[in-house]
């Protein structure tokens, strides 16, 4: 689950490996600060995409790392650290949304959702730079409009490079549900993108003008 990561942050090489996490579990202050430095912005970005509010996201980061510090000694294996961290992140964000009464659920039955099939080849991406910018805005808008659980799956999948299995573990749901939420998200994004293309009245697949 956990991978050894080397990051170059502000002139410092940060190595996150099992040994470092084990040190943090054993109450090593320095190791915990290194982990915080490495994960703070990842957690912040994930929280922001779920909460869609800078202030709430900042508050959530504080709450998340406080909880991590309090309960890290309960972590059985260092391998599970990243999944565990994102699990705390997601639960904290959900809790904040519930308090703010912004926690929305899926408008339709998930069992029906399981039957939705998605064909990736249907997804058309505009080549025109202006259209592409517009399409990005449409997608972002669409992501924020998705039900919270679908948005969470998309964020974990695309931003944090998590596998279906890892996401299922973090969200405490089965892999089938995660897959269907992911496909449903993509389907909605595709539809939204198609709508956008129609609105700006440009043919999909215009002039390639990259770079």
């Amino acid at each position: 689950m956990h991978r050894t990561v080397i990051r170059y942050i502000k002139g410092l090489i940060i190595l996150i490996d099992e040994e470092l996490i084990q040190k943090a579990i054993d109450r090593d202050k320095c190791a915990f600060r290194t982990i915080f430095t490495f994960y703070k912005n990842r957690v912040y970005r994930t929280s922001y995409l779920i909460l869609k509010d800078h202030q709430l996201a900042e508050d959530s980061v504080q709450e998340i790392f406080l909880q991590v510090h309090k309960t890290i000694h309960k972590l059985i294996t260092a391998k599970a650290f990243e999944s565990w961290l994102y699990k705390i992140t997601i639960n904290t964000c959900y809790s904040i949304l519930r308090k703010a009464k912004k926690f929305d659920t899926l408008p339709f039955d998930e069992s029906i959702e399981q039957s939705i099939t998605y064909n990736e080849s249907d997804f058309e991406i505009p080549d025109n730079i202006l259209m592409r910018k517009e399409a990005k805005n449409c997608i972002i808008e669409c992501i924020y409009s998705l039900p919270i659980k679908h948005r969470t799956v998309l964020i974990l999948f695309y931003l944090n490079d998590m596998s279906i299995k890892e996401i299922a573990e973090i969200t405490e749901s089965n892999e089938g549900t995660v897959k269907s939420r992911l496909f449903y998200g993509k389907k909605v994004l595709k539809e939204k993108l198609a709508d956008c293309n129609e609105l700006i009245d440009l043919p999909i697949g215009g002039v390639i003008c990259e770079g």
Binding site: R45, L66, K70, L159
Partner: protein, 218 residues
């Protein structure tokens, strides 16, 4: 471009500029340090409380042990004391020093009828019970520390007036004829045997034939 790559790119671009400021990071770390300090204090208090409870338990255990020892040792002590007491009583019995049971010694004096048939004046005189014979026996018994003595149910002691009065003996102003029954209460076992076997005066009286009987009863 693949759809997945496009969405990934869009999402990453949306948040790539987002970074926590140094102030917020410092604030979070400060908060964590404070929390750690607070946790340490809490743990120290908990440890102190646990230690206190453990000590209390130890005190309780000591109390239980002491109570158990009392329960065991007190009956044991009582048994030992009782056994020791019995042993002392048995030893007392063994040396014939019965401190609880009293014995009645009855000495019967009467004139020696055989001696009285003799024509010899001396023999006749020694065959008759005299006042001084009775006084002799009373003196012997008093010598053993015996105070309760009677002659023919007349209570006497070594200073009582016992004198001859013709054919009778006057005891406490009353005349009595033979047989003279001397009763005494003593605390010793086998006093009668001792009197018969060891006392010369008694032996002499017996040889004169005037001691009819020496009896010991409980």
């Amino acid at each position: 471009m693949k759809a997945d790559d496009f969405i990934k790119q869009v999402i990453e671009e949306e948040v790539e500029v987002l970074e926590l400021s140094e102030d917020i990071c410092s604030k979070i770390l400060e908060h964590i340090d404070m929390n750690e300090e607070h946790e340490n204090k809490k743990n120290n208090i908990l440890a102190a409380m646990k230690s206190f409870i453990l000590r209390l338990r130890l005190v309780d255990m000591v109390e239980v042990v002491v109570f158990a020892l009392v329960l065991i040792l007190v009956p044991y002590g009582v048994t030992q004391y009782s056994e020791h007491n019995n042993q002392i009583q048995n030893e007392n019995k063994a040396v014939n020093k019965n401190t609880s049971k009293k014995r009645l010694i009855t000495i019967t004096l009467t004139d020696n009828q055989e001696g009285l048939k003799s024509k010899d004046t001396i023999s006749i005189n020694t065959s008759i019970v005299h006042a001084y014979d009775i006084k002799c026996i009373i003196d012997i018994l008093s010598g053993y520390g015996i105070n309760e003595i009677s002659v023919n149910d007349e209570k006497v002691d070594k200073d009582s007036e016992i004198v001859a009065s013709g054919q009778f003996i006057k005891i406490n102003e009353k005349n009595y004829g033979p047989p003279y029954i001397i009763k005494s209460v003593c605390k010793y076992d086998s006093l009668s045997a001792e009197l018969i076997l060891k006392n010369d005066a008694i032996k002499a009286l017996k040889s004169r034939g005037i001691i009819e009987n020496i009896e010991e009863t409980q």
